[in-house]
């Protein structure tokens, strides 16, 4: 379309058909080429956006991405899904929340299954290797919301927004969900990950995680 509009016979009356040294390259085409590359050139000059706070990890079949959510973001997310302000405040007071994507790192059919159980994970104080506790899971929050009289819609939204407690991933599978850690905003901590790949147990420690604030 562009080419047609620039090569109309009327246009050619006002422009020489070519430039010296570019017998086959009319000015219109150069102008067009310049227009086409300009955004790319500008994009190349633009500094990259601020580094994402997401922490990525991949090992022995497990792929994980974690990012701390600021309390305001968590509060807004759940208030948009039926939480009263007091309940959203309770959540951010009791837990720091991370968004996560966890799944199989394999991309070939027939690869071993990768399974996780959040009950086996441990949240540890920064600099410690032992004495941690498992992160609070869907099941742990249910009685809290029941006691606080949360609406059914809000309870359903919370349940499904949290990462499943147990999951098994085939090649290409992953889930998205929130992880809650019973820590105050801004706390630095380590997270011991445990998973099984084709039945073999693996574990590692993710250090220097920080709750949003």
């Amino acid at each position: 379309m562009r080419r047609a509009s620039f090569e109309g016979s009327k246009k050619d009356q006002f422009m020489p058909t070519s430039l010296p040294g570019f017998p086959l390259l009319p000015r219109a085409r150069i102008f067009l080429a310049a227009l086409m590359v300009a955004p790319t050139l500008i994009a190349a000059q633009t500094p990259p956006p601020a580094q994402s706070p997401a922490r990525k990890f991949e090992q022995d079949g497990l792929k994980i991405e974690l990012a701390a959510l600021p309390p305001d973001t968590t509060r807004a997310f759940f208030m948009g899904r039926g939480f009263a302000r007091k309940d959203a405040d309770h959540l951010v007071a009791k837990a720091c929340v991370f968004r996560s994507a966890i799944g199989s790192a394999f991309s070939k059919a027939g690869s071993p299954a990768v399974s996780i159980d959040l009950k086996q994970w441990q949240v540890l104080s920064a600099g410690h290797d032992k004495g941690g506790a498992a992160p609070p899971r869907r099941e742990d929050w249910s009685p809290v919301w029941q006691a606080r009289g949360l609406s059914e819609d809000a309870k359903v939204a919370f349940y499904w927004a949290l990462f499943p407690t147990r999951q098994t991933f085939a090649a290409g599978d992953y889930n998205w969900g929130m992880l809650t850690f019973g820590l105050p905003a801004g706390t630095k901590f380590s997270l011991k990950l445990v998973w099984r790949t084709g039945g073999t147990k693996h574990e590692t420690m993710l250090k220097d995680l920080t709750c949003g604030k």
């Binding site: 430039l19 790319t40 899904r81 991309s107 290409g172 599978d173 998205w176 969900g177």
Partner: protein, 192 residues
């Protein structure tokens, strides 16, 4: 002298234009080639074959107009049943590919159904109209059907054969209009 200066100016102009065009092309290629390479290396869109071909649990769910759809109404059809939610990023991401898949398969004996977990109909309306989704969207207000189907995270999608058995599962998003993926679904029409 004027002729020499004129020729020199023309040559310089020509060199500058050539350099600008070359630079532009180089930058353009630099930006396009990695995308092409990434597309070539894109992971295959895998479906996990379920062992034991468990029966798809019955449901009767409303759509956005409160019209009820029952699983039994769809007997004999191949089904793609997607459990999703508007607030789930990979669910949102895969929805346009589901619509494209629907365009490819709707006349081939396959029914695609989105089951939204949770009942915020305003948000569902907004999302479906924004993305021009035309396949049926049902609402599982309390998440009970999702749990009966053994869905534990979103998105999760099942492919059900004409005999009402869950044959394939995909946990997480996929490019649903991928030809190889759809070929696996369409192959179920033979009833094998």
């Amino acid at each position: 002298m004027r002729q020499v200066i004129g020729t020199f100016k023309l040559r310089m102009k020509s060199i500058c234009i050539k350099a600008a065009v070359s630079l532009g092309l180089a930058v353009l290629l630099q930006s396009v080639l990695p995308q092409a390479a990434a597309a070539q290396n894109a992971a295959p869109q895998l479906l996990q074959k379920l062992t034991g071909t468990p029966p798809a649990p019955a449901f009767a769910l409303p759509d956005l107009d409160d019209a009820i759809t029952k699983l039994s109404d769809l007997k004999g059809k191949i089904l793609i049943v997607n459990f999703w939610a508007t607030w789930c990023p990979p669910c949102r991401k895969e929805m346009p590919s589901m619509q494209r898949a629907w365009e490819k398969i709707k006349d081939k004996g396959v029914v695609l159904i989105g089951i939204h977990v949770g009942g915020n109909t305003d948000k569902i309306w907004d999302f479906t109209s924004q993305h021009n989704l035309t396949f049926p969207i049902l609402i599982d207000k309390r998440g009970a059907v999702s749990k009966k189907w053994k869905t534990i995270g979103l998105p999760t999608t099942y492919v059900v054969d004409g005999r009402g058995r869950k044959i394939y599962r995909a946990i997480g998003g996929r490019e649903w209009d991928d030809d190889q993926l759809l070929a696996q679904v369409l192959a179920l029409r033979t009833g094998k």
